[in-house]
Amino acid sequence: MLFSSVDFAIFLPVVFLLYWFVFQRSLRLQNAFILFASALFYAWWDWRYLGLVFISAATDHLVAIGMERTSHTARRKLLLIISLTVNLGMLGFFKYYDFFIASFNDSFKLFGRDLGLSTLSIVLPVGISFYTFQTLSYTIDVYRRQIKASHDPVAFGAFILFFPQLVAGPIERASNLLPQFLAPRTFDEAKARDGLRQMLWGLFKKVVVADNCAVYVDAVWTDPSLHYGSALWVAVLLFTFQIYADFSGYSDIAIGSSRLLGFDLKRNFNFPFFSRDVGEFWRRWHISLNTWFRDYLYLPLGGSRGGKWMVARNVAIIFLVSGLWHGANWTFVAWGVANMLLFLPSILLGTHRKFTGPLAPGRIWPTYSEAFHIAATFSLIALTRVFFRSPSIEMAFNAFREMFSLSAFRPPPGTQLSHWGAMLGGAGVLLLVEWFQREQHHGLALERIPHRSVRWGAYGLLVGAMVLLAPNNGDAFIYFQF
C-alpha cells in the first residue's frame, strides 16, 4: 500500500478511528490492533512475505528473553549468533543470493572457467533491509544489557511491524519506540495536527517533486547512451531532487502518521541539501541508518580510537557496507566508494566536524561562503548519484564520459513546458520552504503562524499543487527496493 495511494487515504482514517474509539479500552487491545493493521498493510503487497517478518520478530523476541534469563556469557553470545544468523541469513538469501552467484560466475569467467551456477530470480521482500536492521538492533541492545527484553509478544510484534515505518524506515531503536508501546497513550491534539502537517509536506514532496522529476530521469536513464551530456546533467540534478523528495517524503509521512497514533519516531532527514560539506551531509541524510551503522558497526570496529588511519579504515568499511545495504549491485558499492573518497580527506585532515553549528543563524540568506560550500557539496553528492541510478558500472562510466564531453553544451531535449514548471517549480518550492524552516523539525511546521486562515491557505495550496501537478505515472517509493 503506497502512502500516496487512495488505498492508504482510506486505510489510515479507518485505523485512526478504530484505534482511538474502539480499541482505546486497553493498551493491549490497541497494540494488537496495530499489529493486525500493520500485517494487513504489509500483506497488501504480498501476503506470502509476511511470514518472514514474523519469523524475524519471533526469533528476536525469544532470543532476547533467553539472553535475559541467563548470565552465562557464552550462552548469551550463542543466542546473539542465532539471531544474527537467522536475520542476516534471510536478508542475505533474499537480497544477495543472486548477486553473489552472478558475481561468482563472472569472476570465474575472467579465468576462462564457466561455473554455470544458476541464480534463482528471487523477488526481494519489501522492506526486508529496514525491519532486519530494526530487529537486530533490539537483540544487540539486549545483549549489551542496554535495554531489557520485552516479555509482551504483542507489543514487540507491533514494534517490529509498525506500519508507518515498516517498509522504508526510519529504522527505529527499541530504546526509543518499544517503551512507547508499553506505556498508555493519550490523544495529543497538537501532536496529531503537526503529524497531519508533516504528512502533507511529505506527500507534496513525493507527488509533486519526486514523481515529476522521475518522468524525466527515467526517460533519460533507460539508456543514457541515447542522450547528450546536457540531458544527463539535467537528469542527474533532477534525480538528486527526486531521491531526496521521495525518501524524505516517505519519512515525513511515516513520522506524521505515527504522530496521529501518539508515537514519536526518530528524525530521518535534517535538510541535507543545506550541508556545507560531505561530513555534514552524512549527518543530515538518512540519519536512522547512519546512526545504526555508527552504533553497531563503526564503534565495535574501534570508532574514532586508534589514530587517523584506523578511523579512515572504519569509515571506509561503513561506506562499503552502506553501499551494499542499498542494493545487490556493484553500482551501489561504487556509490559507497565514491562517497568514501569524498569523505575520507576530511577525516585525514581532521575537518570532518567543521560544520556542526546552525546554518546562517539570525540571517535570512546564507553568506557567499556558505552558499558556495552548499552548492559545492550538493554538486559532489549529485555526481555520486550517477552510480546510484545506473543499472551497471559500465553504463555509469559511459554516462560520465558523455557528461564531460562537448555534448554537455548542446541543448537538452525538451519536455512540455508545464512539466518543466512542475519539476523546477516543485523543487524550487521545496528548497525555499525548507530553507526558511531549517530550524524546524519539518518543512510545514507552521504552528508559529497565529492566523488559521494563513495556515489553511498554505495547506490548500499544497493540496491544489498535488491535484494539478501529479504526473500520470506516480511510482512506488524508491527506497522500497532496498
Binding site: 495529543d188 518522468v215 491535484v467
Partner: protein, 326 residues
C-alpha cells in the same frame, strides 16, 4: 487487568476531528465543483496510462463487438497520418476502426492486436509506422492487456472509474480536454472522426519549432525487441489468415539527408525480411518527395499530407496480396 490507554471523547479529539473533517470537506467540495463544471470533458477510465488509447477503448466499448473489416493499430503515425476518408475510399463498402494512439510502439501494438483482433475480427490490419516506433525511449506507457480485456468485456462504466481511481489524473485531463477535443491546431488534438483518425491542421505560426527541427532516430537506437514484436505480430495475424499491411510513413524533406535515408532503407529491408515469410505487405512512401508544407513537424503530416500519403500508398495495392515492397 488491562491498562486504560486513552480517552477518545475528549474535547481536543472532537476539535481535531471537526477541523480535519472541515478541511477535508472544503477540499472535496472544491474538487467536486470542478468535476461538475467540467463534466463534459471527463476523460475515459484510466485503463492504461495512455489517455488517447483510453478514449479509443471507451469508444470501442460503446461500439460493441460489431466486426471491423479493416483495423488500424500503431502510434500517432496511424492516428494522425492515416486518412480515414482515403481508407474508406480505397476499401469501399467496409467498416474501419483506427485504434492508433500516441506513444504506442511495436511491442504494444502486438499486445493490442491480441486484444482487438478476436473482438473485431478484421480481414486486414494496417500499421502505419516510422522509425520512432521502434525505439525503446523509456517513456513507454503501461499496457496491461488483461485489464484492457476486462474493461472491454466485463466492467461497467462506474466500476471502470472506481477500479482506476486517480482523481488528479481526471482533473488534469479534463482541463486539457477542454482544448484538445476541439482544437485541430493542437498537436494533442483528440477530436477523432467516426473511425478514430485525427487529422492535424496546424497553422504555420503555431508550429512548435522544437518538434519541427527534431531529427529521426539513429540506426543504433532502433531496438531488436521492437522488430521481434513486429515478427510476433506478423505470425499472430498470419496464423489467423489476416493480412497485415505495413505502411512506412515519410519524414519531411527538410530533415532528410543521406544518413536518414540510409537508416530508413536499412529499416525497410529488415521489416521486409520479417514480413516475407507470412506474405504480408509493405507499402512505402519513399519513392516520392514529401515537401515540408505537408507536415506539422518532422514526421506528422497535416490533414492534406495524410490524404496524399494514404492515397499514394494504398494506391500501390493491387488487391492480390503477396509479399511485396511497393
Amino acid at each position: 487487568m488491562a491498562m486504560r490507554s486513552s480517552t477518545s471523547s475528549s474535547e481536543p479529539m472532537r476539535r481535531f476531528l471537526l477541523h480535519a473533517a472541515l478541511f477535508g470537506t472544503l477540499v472535496l467540495l472544491g474538487i467536486g465543483g470542478y468535476f461538475r463544471y467540467n463534466r463534459h470533458f471527463l476523460p475515459a477510465p484510466r485503463v492504461t496510462s495512455n489517455e488517447v488509447l483510453n478514449m479509443k477503448l471507451s469508444h470501442l466499448r460503446h461500439r460493441g463487438a460489431t466486426p471491423a473489416h479493416v483495423l488500424a493499430i500503431g502510434s500517432s503515425m496511424t492516428m494522425n497520418n492515416l486518412s480515414s476518408a482515403e481508407v474508406m475510399a480505397h476499401f469501399g463498402d467496409t467498416s474501419f476502426v483506427n485504434m492508433g494512439a500516441w506513444g504506442v510502439d511495436m511491442v504494444q501494438s502486438e499486445g493490442l492486436a491480441e486484444v482487438l483482433v478476436p473482438m473485431l475480427k478484421p480481414h486486414t490490419v494496417l500499421v502505419v509506422s516510422n522509425l520512432n516506433d521502434l525505439v525503446n525511449d523509456g517513456r513507454r506507457f503501461r499496457l496491461d492487456t488483461t485489464r484492457v480485456v476486462r474493461y472491454l468485456r466485463a466492467w461497467g462504466t462506474t466500476e471502470s472509474y472506481l477500479r482506476n481511481l486517480k482523481p488528479a489524473y481526471y482533473l488534469r485531463e479534463m482541463e486539457r480536454n477542454r482544448i484538445r477535443m476541439h482544437d485541430r491546431s493542437n498537436y494533442e488534438f483528440m477530436g477523432v472522426d467516426e473511425h478514430g483518425g485525427a487529422g492535424l491542421v496546424i497553422p504555420r505560426d503555431r508550429i512548435d519549432p522544437q518538434r519541427w527541427a527534431r531529427k529521426p532516430p539513429l540506426e543504433r537506437w532502433l531496438a531488436d525487441e521492437q522488430y521481434w514484436a513486429l515478427d510476433r505480430l506478423c505470425a499472430y495475424l498470419g496464423e489467423r489468415g489476416i493480412r497485415l499491411i505495413f505502411l512506412q510513413s515519410p519524414y519531411r524533406d527538410g530533415v532528410r539527408n543521406s544518413m536518414v535515408d540510409r537508416t530508413v532503407e536499412t529499416h525497410l529491408a529488415r521489416v521486409s525480411k520479417i514480413l516475407a515469410p507470412y506474405d504480408h505487405i509493405m507499402l512505402t512512401a519513399t519513392d516520392r518527395p514529401w515537401p515540408d508544407s505537408l507536415f506539422v513537424d518532422y514526421s506528422h503530416l497535416n490533414g492534406r499530407g495524410a490524404e496524399l500519403f494514404t492515397r499514394h500508398v494504398l494506391g500501390k495495392l493491387d488487391g492480390a496480396g503477396g509479399t511485396t515492397r511497393r
